[in-house]
């Protein structure tokens, strides 16, 4: 009986997480457009609903009814598969992301995470690495030069920035002596990692921007030179799959930054707020930061991007490991 209750709880939590993740891009597009609007001295969406609140729904309906176009001589199987492959990893990643310790509801203790893996961090990085497949296959299957160029760029970019990203969290793992995200957050109960690992955070943040393909590293879809990059040929719902996965990656990277460097759900003692609220507040801040950067910076060129990854971030992340080791000894 107990085991069935436990399984029911897992399934329930899974359903909630999936539902939230599917709905999340809707407010996020609205927020992003509003932020863009106010940064650029305009109002953003205003027509559909109060202050354009229903704009994402209108967009969704538009995308649903758009012609689902598949180019001639495209690889139809991969063309159809690619958006789905792009969508799966962001969902998988959230299995391992805790948003709090546990809460008590109706006398039952409910943990605010799906799985506490002892290799949680590694799992997240590994699954995030699969994301690149959707992009590569989309670009290749489209049989369009812009798309292929876009996905070639993505390929090189994702592989190059995964390395500094992986190295930059080693310092955190060393401090927590564990790869479980719960342990990592608990190790920051007194002092947030940002104080001891500023270099690690910097490298993680920059390579996170690159992994999410956001400005200044949004080369795969640089509209200035590639039209729309790897999803040039996509329309309708297939296109929106890429958009959803892009937003989820932003959320997931923000969550990871909060968990690894900003104390997770630990707040500042002076302001008493529930831990989950603390977590969501920090999460929103980083999501906002991603959007803010997008409308402020130009983008790097391909070779500049590569040299930043290999010549700046990689040595910095290695130095971070060394410094952390020296201090720990």
């Amino acid at each position: 009986m107990e085991s069935f209750l436990a399984i029911g709880l897992i399934v329930g939590k899974l359903a909630v997480v999936i539902a939230i993740l599917l709905i999340l891009p809707i407010p996020l597009t609205w927020i992003e457009r509003k932020i863009a609007g106010h940064i650029q001295q305009r109002l953003g969406p205003m027509r559909v609903g109060w202050h354009g609140l229903l704009q994402p729904l209108a967009d969704g309906i538009k995308l649903l009814f758009k012609e689902d176009h598949i180019p001639v001589e495209a690889d139809r199987f991969l063309f159809t598969l690619a958006p789905i492959i792009a969508l799966v990893p962001p969902f998988l990643v959230f299995v391992a992301i805790p948003i709090g310790d546990s809460i008590t509801l109706f006398g039952t203790e409910i943990t605010l995470y799906l799985a506490d893996m002892n290799v949680g961090l590694l799992y997240i990085l590994a699954v995030a690495g699969i994301e690149v497949y959707g992009v590569i296959l989309a670009g290749w299957a489209s049989n369009s030069k812009y798309a292929v160029l876009g996905s070639l760029r993505t390929c090189a970019q994702m592989i190059s920035y995964e390395i500094p990203m992986g190295f930059s969290v080693i310092g955190v793992v060393m401090l927590a002596q564990s790869m479980s995200l719960l342990d990592i957050v608990e190790s920051q109960a007194g002092l947030w990692n940002i104080v001891t690992q500023p270099l690690g955070f910097f490298v993680f943040f920059v390579s996170g921007l690159a992994e999410a393909q956001r400005i200044p590293f949004d080369l795969p879809e640089a509209e200035g030179d590639l039209g729309a990059g790897y999803h040039t040929e996509y329309s309708g719902m297939r296109f929106s799959f890429f958009m959803i996965s892009e937003y989820l990656i932003v959320v997931f990277l923000s969550a990871l930054m909060v968990l690894l460097f900003f104390g997770g759900w630990h707040g500042i003692a002076m302001i008493p707020l529930p831990p989950v609220v603390w977590f969501l507040l920090k999460l929103s801040f980083f999501i906002w930061m991603f959007m803010w950067l997008r409308f402020t910076f130009p983008r790097y060129r391909y070779d500049q991007l590569m040299s930043i990854g290999w010549k700046v971030l990689l040595p910095l992340s290695l130095a971070n490991i060394l410094i952390s080791g020296v201090f720990m000894l």
Partner: protein, 187 residues
């Protein structure tokens, strides 16, 4: 960093898995998928399809590692093979004009390769049938999951330090060699 144990999801899954039949079923599922996708790698005409099914194969193997009680190896499998090696494969394939090669099936020169394949296959079959370890393979390696990262690193950095260092040096040499080769071409 000792932490109070929690009633987490892993426990619940373990409860279900202790039945044993469930585990066998999962093993058969993953193993079957792995063999099937490996077959597609060879049979598929389009190199990109081959690469993709090789990736599927790797993911299945990672799942098998989890069944064997070694999530660390599973994650490393995905991290290194799926996340990096296969991406590079695809990267190279994309540069080629694969549409030309799609129409070429097995060539005459493939006959010796076929012979070698048959011999190796027979050898492997004989080995498998001859040994008595098959039932043990499908059983879980051990319930102690938590220590696997630590144990692995201790083994690697203490017991096998010299081979580890030698392997690193060999890799470094390969790296330098690759750079030298690449440099030559541009003059």
């Amino acid at each position: 960093m000792a932490r109070t144990p929690r009633t987490d999801s892993g426990a619940a899954i373990r409860i279900v898995f202790q039945g044993g039949t469930m585990e066998t079923a999962f093993f058969l599922l993953f193993a079957g998928m792995a063999v099937l996708s490996a077959l597609v790698v060879v049979v598929a005409r389009n190199p990109v399809h081959s690469a993709l099914s090789l990736m599927v194969c790797f993911v299945q193997i990672a799942a098998l590692f989890i069944l064997l009680g070694s999530p660390f190896l599973a994650v490393i499998q995905i991290f290194v093979y799926v996340g990096a090696v296969m991406v590079l494969f695809l990267f190279v394939i994309m540069m080629l004009d694969v549409r030309k090669d799609v129409h070429v099936r097995f060539r005459a020169s493939a006959v010796p390769a076929l012979i070698v394949l048959v011999i190796l296959g027979a050898e492997m079959l004989a080995l498998l049938l001859g040994s008595g370890h098959i039932p043990a393979l499908s059983a879980a390696a051990g319930p102690d999951v938590a220590g696997s990262v630590k144990e692995l690193s201790l083994t690697l950095f203490a017991d096998y330090l010299l081979p580890f260092e030698v392997a690193s040096v060999v890799l470094l040499v390969a790296l330098v060699g690759a750079i030298v080769l690449a440099k030559k071409e541009t003059g």
